[in-house]
Structures are given as structure tokens and as C-alpha cells.
């Protein structure tokens, strides 16, 4: 279970005519976003006469992005460039999980549980974590946040689970 980014993968699978895979796939992804935006804004009203409708500007920018994405892709074919960078999975996965868990639990369970749980989940994001130390820091941080945000900064945050408060 190593956390090394998978590198070199891009070079072996990719055909030779893609000389800058980083740009090539970046361009394709931008084009995909543009097409998605074109589809998403297709139900909006367009130009009538010389005045803009709600959908004119989004379609204009999406069209522009489509062209630029294509250009970036072409650049990836005609010029030499860096190959695909390796992606690590551990950091992105656990940091995202931690963010999502915070979002789900903050309303029903309150700040104390939510912040502490998210702290531990995001700590899974690296193998360097030493658990005893992390748990102690997590508890201190949770206490600090519970004092800082609702009291010192006056934010309307619930501290404890809803069913306990009621």
C-alpha cells in the first residue's frame, strides 16, 4: 500500500503522436466542460433582436472555452511538453472524505463531534500521522474551535448534537 504517485503510466499507454499529454488531456477536459455548459444552458433564451437573452452570455463563453480547449489540445499534439503528472490517491481521498463528513454532520451532530471526526479523517490523508499525538491535538483543536467560533466570533454554530440539546 504505497502512496507513491503513479508516474510513467502516461508514457507507456499513450500513443506517440501526443507529445504533451498534460496539455492534450487538459484541453480535452476543458472541451468537455464547455460542451456540458452548452448543454446545461441550451434551455435558456437566446438573442432577441439586438438584446441579449439569459442564455447568450453563457453560450458565448462556453463556445469560447470550447475553442480554447481545442487549441490547448492541438498544442499538446504539435509541441513537446511535460508528461502526465502522477496523482496520489490518499491525500485527495481522505481530505475530500473529511470535508464531506463535516458537511453532513455539522447540522445534526454539532461542531464538537463534527470537527473532531473530520480532523481524524483528514489525518488519514498522510502516512506520517502518529495517532496518539493526533488525537491529543484534535481534542485541543476542537475545544479551541468551540470557544473561538461560537463565543469569540459570535457565529451561530451549534456545539452539541441536536437530540441531546432538546
Amino acid at each position: 500500500m504505497s502512496d507513491r504517485p503513479i508516474s510513467g503510466l502516461g508514457q507507456s499507454i499513450m500513443p506517440e503522436w501526443i507529445r504533451a499529454p498534460q496539455d492534450f488531456f487538459g484541453g480535452i477536459a476543458l472541451m468537455a466542460i464547455a460542451v456540458f455548459a452548452l448543454w446545461a444552458s441550451s434551455d435558456l433564451q437566446g438573442m432577441h433582436g439586438f438584446s441579449f437573452g439569459a442564455g447568450t452570455a453563457p453560450r458565448m463563453f462556453a463556445g469560447l472555452l470550447l475553442g480554447l480547449g481545442f487549441a490547448v489540445m492541438v498544442v499538446g499534439v504539435v509541441t513537446e511538453g511535460p508528461r502526465m503528472a502522477g496523482y496520489a490517491w490518499r491525500g485527495p481521498l481522505f481530505v475530500s472524505l473529511s470535508i464531506v463528513s463535516f458537511a453532513i454532520t455539522i447540522r445534526p451532530l454539532g461542531l464538537v463531534i463534527s470537527a473532531f471526526a473530520s480532523f481524524l479523517i483528514s489525518a488519514l490523508g498522510t502516512l506520517e500521522t502518529r495517532w496518539k499525538e493526533t488525537i491529543i491535538v484534535g481534542i485541543c483543536l476542537t475545544i479551541g474551535c468551540s470557544l473561538l467560533f461560537p463565543y469569540a466570533l459570535g457565529l451561530p454554530l451549534q456545539l452539541f448534537p441536536r437530540f441531546l440539546v432538546q
Partner: protein, 505 residues
């Protein structure tokens, strides 16, 4: 001139009440404290601390925000120098020589010079705002929709010129930002655009949400990549001597002067003025230095010039905000948000209708700068200790702070998830060498740009040549075109060189 002094007197009269001084001090202190955390830059700091100011009266809130802003900016420079993590785009240049100085045990002088340079730049820029604020307001009245549109095109082009990598990719990022800004309700018809019936999207994507995701979370995720540990090695050695020597001061004085001048001018231009200023000041110092090879190896001018430039620019960037109502950069956009919450619409009217607010804020900027130097020179040792916290403990804390920060803006869990999604997008962008800064600028300017484009075309009855036939607009467009050519030329030349190299080998 007399008017100028009476205005400044009015301003200081408002700012030097015990309450406002205290607010300014707290703002600067908290801003520095949060800004000094690596991974949390100026934008995130201001976004996170914005809610603190909601309960205050408008003048107090803006004064505190100004304090937070300067504090955060200085905090960002501190991390650039000590750990080579720029807190934000403007302090990227500071890492080049600042971190080298820190490695040589000269972190103290570097931090001190950064503070002194910033303070000097702040003093000059305060006077400049007072002098130029009113005349520029008159200029603002000459601006119609066509001119505003051209001005924004110019601002976006600036973001392109300064992007480090490919011009094409920078433009693509701007357009992506513009496209993202289209999400939400249409300004004129109220039609819901690309919101997919998600109620939280009806008002559009929150700027702080996107910024925190693309900069904060993405940076954390990237730092967790194996191999990135090398980059976050802390400077563990002792700081030798806090104060710069006499030679340091003599070396850096002219650099501070030049940086301040450049920064003041560039800050007025909308569109990443402060970023442009720091890059330009560094490049300029390197160009005129007797021995350019010292730069990048711990030259004190390489810290002094960009730091004073970015502070001067940060300050003068209030001019377009206060007079034209245009946010010149991401942080200023947040300021507009804060002003609107307090019922103030930034623009030419503010100067006339609420002079005590405008001048109070200008005066408090100067006081904010003074507070910074008072707070920071003795605190340098403390910052270093804070940064010795290992990253394995630091990053979960940053994640939690960011999550709470975003949640507290709207009390909306969806915003937190969105920020996470933008974090992944930002990570992907970094991996594909796309820069997130132009994207953010596009997102900020998008709605204004669309509104003015629609208005201009409505007034000209659908005639697209209006942007070139109105003189002021034509000048702005020509400048934008010129800058774009200037930005594209070197890359074309480089391509040609590459071709030659290939044919030779």
C-alpha cells in the same frame, strides 16, 4: 491642497477613536495570526474573518477589515520567507530571495525589511489615495458601459500577461472563470442558469467557496503528495539577529523606493494590480542590479522591492474600488461583498455621500500599517515557533478551519461540499499546469462584464463597433491588445528557438 488636509483630518478624526483603533489592532493581529498559517492566504483569511465584522457599525467593520487585510498580507509574506510557502499570489516572488535568506540564517533581517518596506509603501500610498481619489472619481463619471467593458478586458489581459506559464492556458482559465460566474440567476430576466434546481446555486457560486477550494484545499492535497515533503522542510535553525544591519538598510532603501513607486501606479489598474506590481518590481530590480546573479540567492533587494510594491499596490487598489466600484482583485471583491452587507454601494457616490466612511478607512489603512510593524517586529520569534508544528498536524487543522469558515458564511453544508469539489478541481488544474489565479479573476469580473456588455450593446443598438469608436474605450482596448501581443511574442520567439535547437541536434 487645503481640501486634502481637511479630508485627511476628517479621516483621522474618525479612525482615531479608541474603539476604531482597537478594532484596527484586533483586525491586524487576527489577520496576521490566520494569514501566517501556511495554506491560508489573504483571500481565505479575509473570507473566513468576514463574518466577525457583521455585527459592527459600517465604519468600524471596514476599518477592521482593512486591518485584517494588511495583517493577512503580512502573514503571507512571513510564510513565504520562513517556509517557502507563499500565502498568496503577491508573495510568490518574495519566496525567491526571502527563503534563501532564511536558509542562511538571515530570516530576521528578511522579515524586518519586509515589514519596514511595507510600512513605508503604505505611508506613501495613503497620501496617494488621498490626492488621487477625488480626481479619479470625476474620471469614473466619464465611464459608460462600453468603457467599463473595455476596462475589464484590460484587467483580464493583465492576468494573462503575468501568468507564469502558457498564455493560451491562462486565457482558457479566465474563460472558465467567466463561465463559472454565469451560474445562478440572470441579472436581467432572473432566469435560473445552469443551477440544476439546487437552491444553494440559485445565487451563484460563492466566491469564497471557490477561492477556498481552488487555493486552500487544492494546496493541502498537493502538499500531501509523496515527494512534496521536500518542499515543506522548515527552517529549523536559529534566527541570527532580528534587525537588519546598516548595510542591509542602505542596500534596500532604493529598492523600497522603486518598489513603492511601481506598486502605487500598478495598483490603481484594475485586475491583479498587486500581483503584477510584485513581479514587475522584482524583475526591475534584477534588470538594473550591477550583479543580477545575486538574485535568487538571498539578495535583500529581492525581498524589499516586491514586498513594498505589493503593499503599495494593495493600498492603491482601493482607489478603483472606492471611486469606480470595480473590485481590482479577489480580496477587493470580498470587500465589496462586505460593503454591500452594510448597505454601502461602492462607486462614485460613496465619496460624496459618506465622506467620513471613505476618509476614515483611508486613515485607518495607515494606522493598520503602523499596527503591523508594531505587532510584527517583536512577534517574529513566535511565528517561527508556530511554523515548527509538523505538517501532519498542521494540515488537518487547516482543513477544519477552512470547513468551519466556509460553513459559517451561509450556514450551508452544500457550500462546504462545493469547496471540496473545487479543491479537487484545483488539484487537477495544478497537475495540468493550469493556474488558478486567472480563473478566480474571471469569476470575479464575469457578472460585471456581462452586465456592461449587454448594456453597451443595448445602447448602441447591437453595434459591436461601439467598443472601438468611443475614444476612451478604444484606448483601453488598444492597450489590452498591445499587452496581449507583448505576452505572446516571447513565447513565439521561444518556440522558434526550440525549433532551431531541434534542427541543430
Amino acid at each position: 491642497m487645503a481640501e486634502l488636509f481637511s479630508n485627511l483630518a476628517l479621516g483621522f478624526g474618525v479612525a482615531i477613536t479608541p474603539i476604531n483603533l482597537l478594532l484596527c489592532l484586533i483586525g491586524a493581529l487576527v489577520g496576521t495570526l490566520v494569514g501566517v498559517l501556511p495554506g491560508i492566504g489573504t483571500i481565505a483569511t479575509v473570507a473566513m474573518l468576514l463574518p466577525i465584522t457583521f455585527g459592527l457599525p459600517p465604519v468600524g467593520a471596514l476599518i477592521m477589515l482593512a486591518g485584517i487585510y494588511y495583517g493577512a498580507q503580512y502573514g503571507g509574506s512571513t510564510t513565504s520567507i520562513l517556509v517557502n510557502i507563499p500565502g498568496e499570489a503577491t508573495s510568490v516572488v518574495t519566496t525567491l530571495d526571502g527563503f534563501q535568506m532564511a536558509k542562511q540564517g538571515r530570516a530576521g533581517p528578511a522579515l524586518a525589511i519586509a515589514a519596514i518596506g511595507s510600512f513605508f509603501a503604505g505611508c506613501v500610498a495613503t497620501v496617494l489615495i488621498a490626492v488621487l481619489g477625488a480626481p479619479l472619481t470625476k474620471l469614473a463619471l466619464a465611464f459608460g458601459p462600453a468603457e467599463y467593458f473595455s476596462l475589464m478586458v484590460l484587467g483580464l489581459i493583465f492576468a494573462v500577461v503575468l501568468a507564469k506559464g502558457s498564455v493560451l492556458k491562462a486565457i482558457a482559465m479566465i474563460v472558465l472563470g467567466l463561465l463559472l460566474s454565469m451560474v445562478g440567476s440572470d441579472i436581467e430576466t432572473g432566469a435560473s442558469r445552469m443551477a440544476f434546481n439546487v437552491p444553494e446555486l440559485a445565487d451563484g457560486l460563492g466566491f469564497a467557496t471557490v477561492a477556498m477550494g481552488v487555493f486552500g484545499f487544492a494546496e493541502i492535497i498537493r502538499n500531501l503528495d509523496a515527494g512534496a515533503e521536500m518542499d515543506r522542510q522548515l527552517v529549523q535553525q536559529k534566527i541570527t539577529g532580528l534587525m537588519p544591519t546598516k548595510k542591509d538598510l542602505i542596500d534596500s532603501a532604493p529598492a523600497i523606493l522603486r518598489g513603492t513607486a511601481l506598486g502605487s501606479i500598478l495598483g490603481i489598474l484594475p485586475g491583479g494590480g498587486a500581483v503584477i506590481a510584485s513581479f514587475a518590481a522584482y524583475t526591475f530590480e534584477k534588470k538594473i542590479a550591477k550583479d543580477p546573479s545575486r538574485f535568487g540567492r538571498g539578495a535583500i533587494e529581492g525581498v524589499a522591492a516586491p514586498e513594498s510594491a505589493n503593499n503599495a499596490a494593495a493600498q492603491t487598489s482601493f482607489i478603483p474600488l472606492l471611486t469606480l466600484g470595480i473590485p481590482p482583485n479577489a480580496v477587493m471583491a470580498l470587500m465589496v461583498g462586505a460593503m454591500t452587507i452594510h448597505g454601502i454601494v461602492p462607486g462614485p457616490q460613496v465619496m460624496q455621500k459618506q465622506p467620513e466612511l471613505v476618509w476614515g478607512m483611508i486613515a485607518s489603512m495607515w494606522i493598520g500599517n503602523l499596527m503591523l510593524i508594531i505587532i510584527n517586529l517583536p512577534l517574529v520569534g513566535v511565528w517561527v515557533r508556530l511554523l515548527r508544528v509538523p505538517y501532519r498536524l498542521m494540515f488537518p487543522s487547516i482543513v477544519i478551519f477552512c470547513a468551519i469558515g466556509i460553513y459559517s458564511i451561509n450556514n450551508a453544508p452544500v457550500d462546504v461540499v462545493l469547496a471540496g469539489a473545487f479543491g479537487l478541481l484545483g488539484y487537477w488544474l495544478i497537475k495540468h499546469d493550469f493556474e488558478p489565479a486567472p480563473l478566480l479573476l474571471g469569476m470575479v469580473l464575469g457578472p460585471l462584464m456581462e452586465e456592461n456588455l449587454r448594456r453597451a450593446l443595448l445602447i448602441s443598438r447591437g453595434d459591436w463597433t461601439v467598443f472601438l469608436t468611443r475614444p476612451l474605450s478604444a484606448v483601453l482596448m488598444a492597450t489590452a491588445a498591445f499587452l496581449l501581443v507583448l505576452a505572446v511574442l516571447p513565447s513565439l520567439r521561444r518556440k522558434r528557438d526550440e525549433v532551431f535547437v531541434e534542427s541543430e541536434s
